[in-house]
């Protein structure tokens, strides 16, 4: 700075009230999130879809139990509703306590895609340049987007799950089954369900960052969360016991296991599933942050 005329003017006081900080970037990202009409419609639609799908899934469980109790088994006696409910194999996320998460896959699909879009659309429109001009350290923007997505995903999943359970539980209590908020695993699965969706949203954000492309990011996210487990299910047909145990380590399976309770032989415990899923989230987040920091935009 050689000229005196400038130095007086060139540095507006960089006081705390003046500059950029994480909370301001977070505020900016929340403004971005809620000022897109498409996002608002998508969030509302997701809520409706989570509850709607949960009701259908509950109806399916109800009719299975209903069928088992109304038809005579091989022994000539009918099952009680309790026996029917318990005959559902553990660890398949089909137990009644898991009802809050019955519509969760829709949440994963939509919120995961929304997460990809949240950053990929900025690359597509060039908005990312304005964003990084305002917050040139870049990682604060990534962290702020992550916080927005985690909060939105968590709140939406919990609200959708709670409403699903409130609406579905009377169907089963009406059969004489014991099912309320105090039932083992209900509250646990509701709270962990939100974490799972948040984790998928973070994977989506990372994919959007790495690929800078909405369509590509969403395709890969769907492949990871929905196509891989489908493909993995065929591994059970491979001779040898080893392959049978592989699919449970996939992100969707490990994450899904995290939402259930109880131990079952041969499959991961819930906390192990949770840790493996967390590992996957970090596996995507770290390269994405690295790429965002280093790449030209």
């Amino acid at each position: 700075m050689s000229t005196a005329t400038v130095s007086a003017k060139s540095t507006p006081p960089a006081t705390a009230g003046h500059g950029v900080n994480f909370f301001r970037v977070l505020d900016s990202e929340f403004i971005k999130f809620r000022t897109l009409l498409s996002t608002k419609i998508l969030v509302l639609g997701t809520f409706v879809a989570i509850v709607g799908v949960a009701m259908l899934a509950a109806l399916a469980r109800w009719s299975i139990i209903n069928q088992m109790t109304s038809t005579e088994g091989p022994g000539g006696q009918k099952m009680t509703p309790q026996q029917a409910a318990e005959s559902i194999p553990a660890g398949q996320a089909f137990e009644l306590y898991n009802l809050p998460n019955a519509g969760l896959n829709i949440g994963i699909l939509v919120l995961g895609s929304l997460a990809v879009l949240f950053i990929a659309s900025e690359f597509a429109t060039g908005m990312i340049r304005s964003t990084f001009n305002a917050a040139p350290d870049r990682l604060s923007t990534f962290a702020a987007k992550a916080v927005v997505l985690v909060v939105v995903s968590y709140v939406l999943s919990i609200a959708g799950g709670a409403l699903s359970f409130l609406l579905a539980a009377p169907m089963f209590t009406g059969m004489g089954l014991d099912l309320d908020w105090g039932t083992d695993g209900v509250l646990y699965s509701l709270l962990t369900g939100g974490l799972y969706v948040s984790g998928v949203a973070l994977i989506g954000l990372s994919l959007g960052t790495l690929l800078k492309n909405s369509a590509g990011g969403i395709t890969i996210l769907v492949a990871i969360m929905f196509v891989l487990p489908f493909a993995g299910s065929f591994l059970a047909f491979v001779p040898g016991d080893f392959w049978k145990y592989v699919p449970q380590y996939l992100p969707s399976e490990a994450g899904g296991r995290f939402l259930s309770i109880g131990h079952a032989d041969g499959i991961l415990d819930p906390w192990q599933g949770g840790l493996i899923f967390l590992g996957y989230v970090i596996l995507f987040l770290v390269p994405a942050m690295f790429a965002l920091k280093k790449r030209d935009v």
Partner: protein, 336 residues
């Protein structure tokens, strides 16, 4: 104040910016001039920390851009009129940008007013015309009332009133003591706006000077000579540093020799000359002179018309033909 030292950017095989060093001073409008693909935008993106230089460094107001605590108050940039999410309204875009620095709502309204966007501020930015997009980009740049302003091709797509507005704005901000750095490929625009010119071609700085000095340095004193016997006079004038061009019948454009000497030669050799007019170059011609070899993408037409359509030959592409020295010499034999 912007200071670049040995700034270099290589994309794969291609060197976009090849070790440029320059200083952009406050209190002046500095034009950054160069043909398309010369490296203007890449240089500006490196200033803003968006592209990482392959080598070299650049500081704004004494610090690399990313190290400023309040970057929007230091530098406002219009790098790309499309740096806006298409589905968000102009007002909400500015609101999100302002939030990062805690800039009050009042300032958002101010820049919207200042850029004449009031009527469309609540509309989606994706529906904006190029000109409106530019205005929004400029509003975005002014948001933090920055000390340094970087505008990449700001007049692109603006109507004449908008062009005048950008020109006045740039000059006003410079008078306020701010650093104003404007890129353009339009010489005519820079001639009216800039005080200082940095000319870039193929990633290299080819001139860093004032507008007047650039014209002065690049102007070869030329003389329009009308004579019925162009080929004979051409041969007589030929010599070291003399250039003879023929654009019209019976008309020569001669540079490298003064009008008096031309008249003397004509008189000694009894060649009729019925007009002898000294010509001065415009800034535009000086610019073409300077960047002729530095243009990245030559248009096909240009290889026939050495001088791009400018004020001198009417810009109508009338088949103007400029002879090089060698061609002029070769023509001597064939004519008459």
């Amino acid at each position: 104040m912007i200071e670049a030292h040995g700034l270099r950017k290589v994309y794969g095989e291609k060197t976009a910016v090849d070790g440029v060093s320059f200083t952009v001073q406050p209190g002046k409008v500095t034009g950054f001039l160069g043909p398309n693909g010369a490296g203007k935008s890449t240089t500006m993106r490196m200033i803003m920390g968006l592209d990482r230089p392959t080598a070299g460094s650049v500081t704004v107001n004494g610090l690399p851009y990313a190290r400023h605590k309040a970057p929007l108050h230091q530098v406002g940039a219009l790098l790309d009129a499309k740096a806006v999410h298409t589905s968000r309204s102009a007002y909400n875009h500015l609101r999100a940008m302002a939030a990062t620095h805690g800039i009050p709502k009042k300032r958002i309204d101010e820049v919207i007013d200042m850029t004449g966007l009031s009527a469309v501020a609540k509309k989606k930015a994706g529906g904006f015309s190029l000109g409106m997009g530019q205005r929004l980009g400029i509003a975005n740049a002014l948001l933090g009332d920055p000390q340094t302003l970087i505008l990449d091709e700001p007049v692109n797509g603006l109507d004449p009133e908008g062009v005048l507005w950008v020109r006045n704005l740039a000059r006003y901000l410079a008078r306020e003591g701010k650093t104003v750095f404007i890129s353009s490929h339009l010489m005519s625009e820079m001639a009216q706006t800039a005080d200082q010119l940095i000319v870039i071609g193929r990633g290299r700085i080819i001139a860093d000077t004032t507008v007047e000095a650039l014209i002065e340095s690049q102007t070869r004193k030329r003389t329009l000579v009308r004579t019925p016997d162009t080929s004979r006079l051409g041969v007589l004038l030929a010599g070291e540093g003399v250039r003879v061009d023929q654009n019209e019948p019976e008309t020569l454009e001669v540079s490298g020799i003064d009008p008096r000497r031309i008249a003397e030669l004509a008189l000694e050799n009894r060649v009729l000359v019925y007009e002898l007019t000294p010509l001065t170059s415009s800034l535009e011609e000086a610019y073409f002179q300077l960047t002729r070899d530095e243009v990245e993408y030559h248009s096909h037409l240009e290889s026939h018309a050495g001088q791009a359509p400018g004020p001198l030959n009417g810009g109508s592409g009338t088949g103007a033909y400029r002879m090089s020295d060698a061609e002029a010499a070769a023509m001597e034999g064939s004519q008459r």
